[in-house]
Symmetry: C2
Subunit: 203 residues, 2 copies
Amino acid sequence: MTADARPAATPLTERQEARRRRILHASALLAGRGGFEAVQMREVAEAAEVALGTLYRYFPSKIHLLVATMQDQLQHLHATLRKRPPAGDDASQRAAETLMRAFRALQRRPHLADAMVRALTFADRSVSPEVDAVSRLTTAIILDATGLEHPTPEQLSAVRVIEHTWHSALISWLSGRASIAQVGIDIETACRLIDLTAGPERA
Amino acid sequence: MTADARPAATPLTERQEARRRRILHASALLAGRGGFEAVQMREVAEAAEVALGTLYRYFPSKIHLLVATMQDQLQHLHATLRKRPPAGDDASQRAAETLMRAFRALQRRPHLADAMVRALTFADRSVSPEVDAVSRLTTAIILDATGLEHPTPEQLSAVRVIEHTWHSALISWLSGRASIAQVGIDIETACRLIDLTAGPERA
DNA sequence: CGCTAATCTAGAACAAGTTACAGACTTGGT
DNA sequence: ACCAAGTCTGTAACTTGTTCTAGATTAGCG
């Protein structure tokens, strides 16, 4: 349902594409120091050398902007992960390994993680399509990691739970209520569902 | 770690306690229509017949206020649930049943749920103690439901994942990206972990 | 080229969370 | 009953997300 996202509207000229990039870059830069609060629309506009009104034309709210930033970062991550697939013995190990790798990437830029994840979970209905795109990307990353060609419905349910756990555990970590180790445990616990919900499934 | 919460500061006189109640009541009322955005600090102050500065003395931010509102509502829920414990055969069924009951309660006041859950996941470090209190309450509710007297570490991990799933699934539901049925499936899927992570554990 | 519609810019204006402050009211101790 | 300290009220100011507007620029097209 609703298979495609934004890009169907207008093809975007070259200069527009460049503006969009500059904005996303500025967003990630400001988020990188200071996190969610440091991404101030006026500053993003200035850093991207774009008028405030233009920024709002490209991204109708701060949340839209940060969710788009996350989508952008996730795509990089997905590409990176594809190059070195996880090496675990079973699907759950591979999923956990991949998420832990992603987690370590986030740990290197905790403020950026803060901005993106907070925006993602704070988003209301007006951002649904964009959040959904991020969610599909995340699902794809996890499914890719498992190496499962034809996941059962149970395994898809397990992936949903893993994704929930992933987001929520990140939130706990970002707000200082869970340690890095605890996030690791939570991810591994959730990942067990993949193998437990179906019969044996070896590589 | 950090076992106790706010109430250690000052005992609060009767009138102060009354003010606090009025504020929480006003908060829940406004949240009940309109959700997160409808809880405007000026309006809360007016509805609670309290000056804006006073509101901020009691709750240092809108997020603090809404998290406290959630804590308040959860306590009611906990008391209600205790009266009619779940009747499932095993721990995971009872946990799922309890969470579904809580979910139905939230469905009756979706706007209130929106305000509380969005605040909870948006909270930053400055609200950690309060969010932690809510988290402990939630854990207690789930553990109560399972009926487990001495949960194993694995089961505690499972409860953590269930809690993550609970919060994140609520978020998806509130932003219209997951159906009620889907939330139910996710909850049940996560709850399976309780039985799967330990040996047989019957009532 | 020259026109027209769309886009972009600069900047003001508005909304809601948050802070600050002066003066009135309460409280607790004597 | 009186005083000092702390609290509450009413209100203005400040911050940052968001909207609006008038004029400049750009893009596409004949």
